[in-house]
Amino acid sequence: MAIITSRNFTNKSTSILDLRGKKVLIVDDFFNFRLNVRNMISFFRPKDIDEAATGDDAVDKISRNKYDIILCDYNLGTGKDGQQVLEEAKFNNYINYATIFMMVTAENTMEMFLGALEYEPDDYLMKPFTRDTLEKKINGLIAKKEVRKAVDQAVAAGEYEKALGLCNELIDNNSKHLVELMRLKGEILTKLGDYGQAVSFYKEVINMGRFPWAVLALGKVTYLSENYDEALRIFSDLIKSNDKLMPAYDWLAKTLQKLNKNREAQQILVNAIAISPKAIQRQKELGDLACRNEDLVMAEKAFKTVVKQGKNSCFKSPTDYTKLAKVLTEREAGEEGLLVLKDANKEFVNDPKAAVQFALTESLVYKKLNRVEDAKRATDKVMSILNSGSDKTSAGFELDMAKALFIQGHGDEAREIIRRVIQSNHEEDDVLENIQMFFKDLELEDEGHKMIDEAVEEVVVLNNEGVRLVKEGELVKAIDYFRNAAKRLDQNKVINANAANSMIVFMNKNGVRKEYLEEAKKYLDRVTEIDPEYRDLTALLLLYKQLLKGTSR
């Protein structure tokens, strides 16, 4: 039977909102408005009420204080808007699932809602609002956060299976927060990597109604399950019916790239930027894409915008500057590129990693300008910063050193280092891409491809042979084989992991041997040091621990 609420609003009897012990932040560029809201909020007796007049001030305050409730106006004048404040706060983990973030708006603009689909506030509050409205909204949000608290905690702890179970239970017993919980469930399924189930789940949701968030999410999981033609159809249809749904453009562009339609992808990003020009990540994507399409005019425009917008954004990065400088150089504007790098050094002070990249790019620019002496000076700077640093073993260090050597004319020495880096990181796409980019900068693209392909192939063949030996049960041979391989490729995590694995498999079959235990430990330690997140590491460590336990029994 349905419970009917018959409420008489003239004689209200709801429980009064109690904010004792809570910290509140009010963000608005109007002094009067802040005062207004402060008066409203103080009625509920919070512990503290802070105010911020600009987006920058708001981000700064949020980064230093833990607020329970943030009321942020969307339109904050010339600087950051409310959406950017929210994005920075979430991106930098200044706020988490427990924080209540309400976006205050002067009008009901769809653009804002749809543009915010990826970083959403907990609720919107339309101006003007009364104390009663504020009270009801906050009460509702506190209740909602309470309902999903256990699931949020499980997600934050990475316990997705547990989160899914809890979420399913809530969905069965909670019609009021159903959509909220269904969105959560979809996100958990996606995090679990169960794209097939996520696809059918979102299709079910869409049967209830074509919610933009659900269609977008369906497109995403379709993309993730590598069904690009279908993803293309979903995102295109979504944009047709909601042309302000900005994340759909980004996903459509990604999909088009997977289908090798880079030109079309670029056009989609251009369209999206025309509608919503503030998104810096999209500008970066456009710049990269334009480079790939060799549309240097567009690339220059995009990276210039990135650099400009990045000045007051958490998404600012050194590569924005190096990319712009390189594009300018290719467009025969090397001098301007040098100015960009000069500016970059001012933007990233006390950041040796950034300084290395700037100096390297500088040397490339000088090289193009045939200013040999200056190029030499820049590469010397690279080496001196690298040598004064503490980290002298990482791929990044070796690679930067090799690049500097290359530009100085020590090509053979540099090639040798680069080859070693490739073989130590033969499965690391970002390292390989970085190397390929460098060869491209030197206009040695073909050499780069050839070198990477050959070096990677060599390791793959080597590794496969060892894996075959393990599979065929030739364990003694396999151990010997991987031992030699790991001597040569001591920084390659796959080889090291397989060396440990061959010994673990042997001991599981033939009983524990002390010397193998010690050796396996050495290889596992190496893997842990190179990449603590390596996919097989957890399983190998577990097996290893079981063997250890066996010896102590």
Binding site: T5, F9, F30, N36, N75, E107, K127, P128, F129, D132
Partner: protein, 232 residues
């Protein structure tokens, strides 16, 4: 070229409305503070401010409607449907209006099953209900009732008052199944615009081939005007 000119005008309109609404909001909240202050001092003069607040609210919803209608005409309006708790949604809207109605001695009641949830665009539907409540403020004697229930595949939201009812030429029954429906007669003036807006919003809601509609009848539980919004 033409497109550019239109975009620019939409921008001007949006930003003017934004500015104006900001000022209205400030005015509204300042009056609210004066009222609260007066009530604290037990001064009765604060009642004079209620009609002011009422007019500000009318201006405010008029501006929202203007922007929405403009976008709709330009084909730029996109609808943001989501699944909402109907009782929560209606409470939100009513709470916004309750102090004003109270000031005129009008009692407002909500009847809605606690677990009733529905798919609709809350921003647009709030606009419609605000508008109807605003009218009811003007025309009802001392009672308004808001009722929501599921009715044959539709969500029906009824707003009834105890006023004199709608004039004969304004009665509407858009129910496509009723057969004897009468289209909206858009009068001049804001009432006509409000109706046009309501019809438009209802019509934007389409589900499984069914389209939303409105009804305006007389009678109901108080024998006054009855406005009904049906969403599929």
């Amino acid at each position: 070229m033409n497109d550019n000119v239109e975009m620019t005008f939409a921008d001007i309109l949006a930003s003017t409305i934004h500015d104006t609404k900001n000022s209205l909001g400030l005015l509204y909240n300042t009056i609210e503070e004066i009222i609260i202050h007066c009530q604290g001092e037990e001064c009765q003069d604060h009642r004079d401010f209620f009609p002011l607040q009422y007019e500000l609210k009318r201006l405010n919803s008029g501006l929202i409607r203007l922007l929405t209608l403009y976008k709709s005409q330009k084909g730029q309006l996109c609808i943001n449907i989501d699944y909402h708790s109907v009782s929560d949604f209606l409470e939100d809207t009513i709470i916004q209006n309750a102090p004003l109605l109270e000031s005129k001695g009008i009692e407002i009641n909500l009847d809605c099953p606690e677990n009733l949830c529905w798919v609709f665009d809350s921003g647009l539907v709030t606009g419609v209900i605000d508008n109807v409540l605003n009218n009811a403020y003007r025309y009802s004697k001392d009672k308004i009732s808001v009722t929501a229930a599921q009715e044959g595949g539709y969500l029906a939201i009824l707003i009834e008052d105890d006023g004199r009812g709608y004039p004969e030429n304004m009665l509407i029954n858009d129910d496509p199944t009723a057969g004897c429906g009468r289209g909206v007669n858009f009068d001049t003036g804001s009432t006509g615009l409000g109706l046009y807006f309501a019809t438009l919003v209802a019509g934007y809601h389409i589900h499984n081939g069914q389209k939303g509609f409105i009804k305006m009848t007389n009678g109901g539980r108080y024998g006054g005007g009855v406005f009904s919004l049906y969403l599929p």
